[in-house]
Symmetry: C2
């Protein structure tokens, strides 16, 4: 145990730091000029210009508006280069998988959603299917002329800090699956580095990065799918607990003697407020239940029934909202976050869920008088997790661009800052 | 927003850092010698000697065994000086309050526990009573010849990050109470700096600092009193959430249509597993229920009934253990900690609670196969929170001794390190 004082600040580490600082200022502002970046960062205009030049040369930043042919003048607005390094995102869920390509500016350039019942297929079989779709998205990347900088994978289960999927309660037999290793061996070196995380965590990060409230730094996002998961964000960071296995709100007990859950216990939230429980209680046929609904299909069926004011569906939504509210109240009482975001299925069903959820939160959250609670609806639809997975790749580069392009440090070492 | 590189490391900040490093090595090891401290910290023996001399002069460290008259030889074992700055701890709970003096080496030198029904008294009245007992403990400090370095207060309610008690569900009318300000104005400057925190948090910190498992860095400690609270520790730090209001496990819903709770909601854990719920279900008389039981009285009554195998009490404990297990499973599924510690009332009742608690944890915690869960019993008895409150004062000095004794930096500025 030697004392740690941090590495000495030399000119290379200063430049590395400043590259990230300038890139961050450009990413988080609406097209600032070099002068504005200088004001935001405290760096001299000369230093900013030199750093911006390096970022432009690395295809991370674009000066001017390329669509209007106004490129590169000193007063030009700066933005992230949509032809910079892109992220490949994969989401594997219970009744669909999806793959997307996110460009460096955060726009989805290509997306494929494949409805399929993954409960009937082995992990190997599903991952081969994913790799087939991913190859087509990679071909789109080639067509657009963007480089793929890495792969992010979202899965509906417990992922440990090493990125291994330990257990997916709704995918029987998926235990200890090295998802990223398998995908990398199927897709090749170009998708490395690869990472894997729980879909509720990545959906919450997507909310943080691409949601409508950029100032929202503390919240829980609850995702309704066949499973129900929560991503907890505090101080702009996802909460991972001691081993990365938290956020399992779907298995909070709601009714001590309730129905048996896929996890083996009784009365879990999922058995009242999960997608299948809602469809079943609403009287959906076995065909709808087991058919390839995908993120849209089953949700559309539920919304159709609710809009048609079918009594069993309305009763099921009322019961689900009350249960969801009680579980969220437990989470807020334990973890203390000021905002709850309804995502996935719950965003679509918000017109019917908001009232019973809020009634339970109001009745049960102790801190409300001093830390008022907000209920929000995710604007990201069913694509939050896959966008979070692809976004994680891009964010990694934003956080430390020089790790991606070491030439930016060595190139113009002298002169500035 | 100027770039932040941290303050430049000059010799004063290095010395400050090294003083804390050496003091920490002495605090966390069993009486190391100067040579061992040098090995632990990577500092030269000469530097360690100079730093130790400063710490000894400041009455933070003692060399040798003062009880045997073996003081100050170079090979002497080093320890924290029990005559160094002491912490004054206060715990205010629903049916008692207590005050203790903890010396710099972590031993309790003086302790007063006063049973009283604080629900019938105003905050002002209770705080005056506390200050009366605290003055007697301060007189003990004078008698021992130790300086009081500050005050820590534990309260049974929601404390915001500014240290204000916002709400105590079991103490009607205690809202927005500046507990530390009131106590400081009653006790004078000598008890500053003062801080206030939730009793479950401070009890969990006491477990971290003074429990039997010094390697335990990730756990939840659940405290059973009239209220039920949880302190969540991850990576050796207490989890405070967005506004410091987390850990309220007593208000996790256990039975959707259960009894009305002091918080206003129905079916909270507290109404099944809190001290009064247990006494009531066990058939205790109104006299026992409202009488001044203190932390010992009511617990002793429950243990007596359980040992006598009174059927209503055994049934109540079984039901409480099952409810507590379900609430703890929710917490572990959401927050992900590998160890649950039973504290307060639950430590005394562990022989009857362990089995139903473990049965629920085994049935409900998803991650068990990969992150095995341990159930432990706190060795700290009913005094954990007050020890945590006093310990917080001492820990503050351990973390940055030079903030307490700035002379240690200026004294021997040159020569070493």
């Amino acid at each position: 145990m030697r004392p740690q004082f941090g590495a000495p600040a030399n000119s290379a580490s200063l430049r590395r730091h400043n590259l990230a600082l300038v890139l961050g200022a450009i990413a988080h502002r609406d097209r600032p000029t070099r002068a504005q970046v200088s004001g935001l960062t405290g760096l001299t205009k000369a230093a900013v210009s030199s750093l911006v030049d390096a970022l432009v040369a690395a295809r991370l930043v674009v000066a001017g508006d390329p669509d209007r042919g106004l490129v590169g003048r000193p007063g030009s607005p700066l933005g992230l280069d949509p032809y910079g390094p892109a992220g490949l995102g994969v989401e594997i869920n219970v009744d669909y998988f999806s793959v997307c390509l996110m460009d460096f500016a955060g726009a989805v350039r290509s997306e494929r959603v494949v409805p399929c019942d993954n409960r009937r297929r082995s992990a190997d079989e599903v991952l081969r299917g994913v790799s087939y779709s991913a190859r087509r998205v990679l071909a789109d990347a080639d067509r657009y002329g963007v480089e793929v900088a890495g792969l992010g994978v979202a899965v509906p289960g417990l992922v440990d800090l090493g990125g291994v999927l330990r257990r997916a309660p709704n995918l029987p037999g998926w235990e200890d699956i090295a998802v990223t290793e398998t995908l990398c061996s199927l897709l090749g070196q170009r998708v490395r580095p690869a990472s894997c995380d729980n879909e509720a965590n990545l959906a919450a990060l997507a909310e943080l990065w691409f949601g409508t409230e950029p100032s929202m730094r503390d919240f829980v996002r609850v995702s309704g799918e066949i499973g129900v998961g929560a991503g907890i964000v505090v101080g702009g960071e996802i909460w991972r607990g001691a081993s990365g296995l938290g956020g399992e709100i779907g298995h909070v007990m709601i009714e001590p003697h309730g129905e048996r859950c896929s996890c083996g216990a009784r009365g879990c939230l999922e058995q009242v407020a999960g997608q299948e429980a809602l469809l079943r209680a609403g009287g959906a046929s076995a065909r709808v239940m087991s058919g390839p609904g995908g993120p849209e299909g089953s949700t559309r069926e539920l919304v159709r029934r609710a809009v048609a004011r079918e009594a069993p569906t309305l009763a099921a939504l009322e019961r689900a909202g009350t249960a969801l509210g009680a579980a969220l109240a437990a989470l807020v009482n334990l973890v203390d976050v000021p905002t709850v975001v309804l995502g996935g299925l719950y965003a679509e069903l918000a017109p019917w869920l908001t009232e019973p959820v809020m009634a339970e939160l109001r009745a049960r959250v102790l801190s409300q008088a001093w830390a008022p609670l907000t209920l929000a609806v995710s604007p990201l639809g069913g694509t939050a997790a896959v966008r979070g997975a692809a976004g994680a790749v891009v964010r990694q580069i934003l956080a430390d661009p020089a790790a991606w392009y070491p030439e930016m440090i060595s190139a113009t070492q002298s002169g500035e800052q």
